[in-house]
Amino acid sequence: MSRATNRGPLLIGVAIAISLALVGIYLAAGGASYAPAKVQDPCEERPWRDPEGLDELAEQFSFSALDGAACELGVSRETLARALATPESRERFTQRYEIDDAELARAIRAGLLRAVDDAERAGVLSPFLATPLRSTLREIPVDQAIELIQDASTLLDNLETFLGPAQGLLEQILP
């Protein structure tokens, strides 16, 4: 057996050792999990934090509404948030997912209703207010509904229109 032939198994052994070492080091350094973070399923409940004022309450209301609408449409909350940013992005979204205006309107209203449910469950909206708010939200035009999702503080500004005398009661239950 020649000297070169003798070195064959050694060469293969070194190649295996180096390859395994590289793969092992990269695995240990987190190579298997270096991927984008997974976003939460919008159909799952997202716990509300204790709101610190009207803005935070409005924001959590918006997020709940986004979750609800996204769940209805089968997309992520994040995709829907970007889609509702402008009329152009909304059009791109409806074309891409082949959603018509009626479907979008239905989903957004469903989202707003879920936000009311979540707010009620979190104890920041009393059942006394939640019921008339639901009736109002079921009927509002889609553009106005999108506006509410984008900036839920407008909901509170517009509560007088929506709820009439209930506005005063809402202010009483806000933290």
Partner: protein, 455 residues
């Protein structure tokens, strides 16, 4: 320089030049993609067409070379290669470019197989001729992407092809003497002999390893340019680690073990390197270097050992060399065709996941709701302009808010979103690199079964 030496240099350059062409456009593909306004799948055919035609034409070209004389065949092949190179450089449509690439491959196949017939008479030993031919080919293939990247950045993607014409002509000049001698005497290099069967296992292993190496080169370049947004010249510098390692690997000659052992060790190193690329723990260029070193050393070991095995004791060399060229390029073409749909689908999915993850970071941040809205809108606009590629997201955060607290928060957001995009771009390539590693490991089966060469 003696005529023998100048002929040796020109033959080595011709082989290197032609085989570099199987990979030289890799770094130019993003530029061609944008310039000719095509799709990722479409632009891949600039690479696939050349390799496919080389695979199909190599053996018939070798037969032709033996019929008309290798000197004449090499001269004609280089002339066709040069002319088609000019046509590639002047192409303004993808279909023209692909057609010219096919013609280029025909000329290249003729030149490369004829070169193998001419080399033994030039260097005085068949074994040495095979070693030089295999090394020139491996070096060309490994250097191709880096050279292509440099040309693309410094001049244009067209220059990659235009520069090949004078180089091919220059390489053909010393061969003309042989061609003239053949024409004058009517003598071809060797009498027509029975060609015998090609070494199936060695050629099968060559095809599999070539598919894995194509994955390493093609995907790494795309990751660097399209995923991590390096310039072609930056990517060229990074991927030059592979040919440098290949030059080192080429020095590990027969003294390091039998051909089968070197082939096995090379295939393992190529797979190990690809495994490393599949498991990159961060989007950092430096982390691609160790895997590249493994792939580079591995490719030099395995390609030369398998070529040696495929040609050992077989005659005529041009025909069996043709089989090795055919196997290598078929492997590259099949590798590209198999991997392209996989990673294009992955990159689209990962991009969407990254954008969602980034938007979640924005939504859950402490910036004001109105600023969140504005950022979401800007991110969406930025994405709309990217035609499905992994976007650079920095400009979506400009102008930065004037309020110092908001500005600090937005800067954190920008970093987090870019991190998500880097993760997505890197992760999108993992399955393809992983598949390449698996193909490289599977090549151990035919290598192990090739009993003709002792371990």
């Amino acid at each position: 320089m003696s005529s023998q030496r100048s002929r040796l240099v020109s033959l080595a350059v011709a082989v290197g030049l032609v085989l570099a062409d199987s990979s030289i456009v890799v770094l130019a593909l993003p530029e061609i993609y944008r310039d000719l306004d095509t799709s990722v799948a479409g632009v891949t055919w600039v690479l696939v067409s050349f390799n496919l035609v080389m695979a199909l034409a190599a053996v018939p070209a070798a037969h032709l070379a033996r019929r008309i004389g290798p000197g004449r065949a090499a001269a004609v092949g280089l002339a066709v290669f040069a002319g088609a190179g000019l046509a590639c450089g002047l192409a303004s449509e993808l279909s023209t470019l692909i057609a010219a690439r096919c013609v280029q491959a025909l000329g290249g196949a003729l030149a490369v197989t004829a070169a193998l017939e001419l080399l033994p008479a030039t260097v005085g030993s068949e074994r040495r001729a095979v070693a030089i031919w295999a090394t020139a080919g491996a070096t060309g293939a490994a250097l191709g992407p880096a050279l292509g990247g440099l040309m693309t950045e410094l001049v244009s993607w067209q220059s990659i092809f235009l520069i090949q014409a004078p180089l091919a002509i220059a390489a053909g000049v010393p061969i003309l003497a042989v061609a003239r001698h053949e024409a004058a005497t009517g003598i071809v290099a060797a009498e027509l002999r029975s060609t015998g069967r090609p070494h199936l296992l060695a050629n099968l292993a060559l095809a599999m390893v070539s598919a894995a190496i194509a994955a390493a080169l093609f995907l790494l370049v795309l990751l660097l340019i399209e995923g991590w947004r390096l310039t072609p010249i930056g990517a060229a510098i990074v991927v030059s680690a592979m040919p440098l390692a290949a030059l080192f690997g080429a020095r590990l000659g027969p003294g390091m073990g039998s051909a089968r052992a070197r082939a096995a060790a090379g295939a393992i190193l190529v797979s190990g390197g690809l495994g490393g690329l599949a498991l990159l723990p961060k989007a950092e260029v430096v982390l691609t270097l160790p895997p590249q070193l493994l792939v580079g050393v591995g490719l030099a070991l395995v390609l030369s050992a398998l070529t040696e095995t495929a040609l050992a004791g077989r005659a005529p060399q041009a025909i069996h060399g043709g089989w090795t060229i055919s196997a290598r390029h078929a492997g590259v073409a099949i590798g590209l065709l198999a991997l392209t749909p996989l990673f294009t689908a992955d990159i689209a999915q990962q991009r969407n996941d990254a954008i969602d993850a980034g938007t979640a970071v924005v939504l859950d941040s402490k910036v004001s709701p109105l600023l969140k809205l504005e950022l979401s809108q800007r991110i969406d606009d930025r994405l709309a302009g990217e035609r499905g590629r992994v976007p650079t997201i920095g400009s979506a955060f400009e102008p930065l808010p004037e309020d110092p607290e908001d500005r600090a928060e937005v800067l954190v957001l920008r970093e987090e979103l870019q991190d998500q995009l880097d993760r997505a771009a890197t992760h999108a390539f993992s399955p393809s690199f992983g598949l390449g590693a698996l193909i490289g490991l599977l090549a151990l089966v035919p290598i192990g079964l090739a009993r003709r060469v002792e371990l």
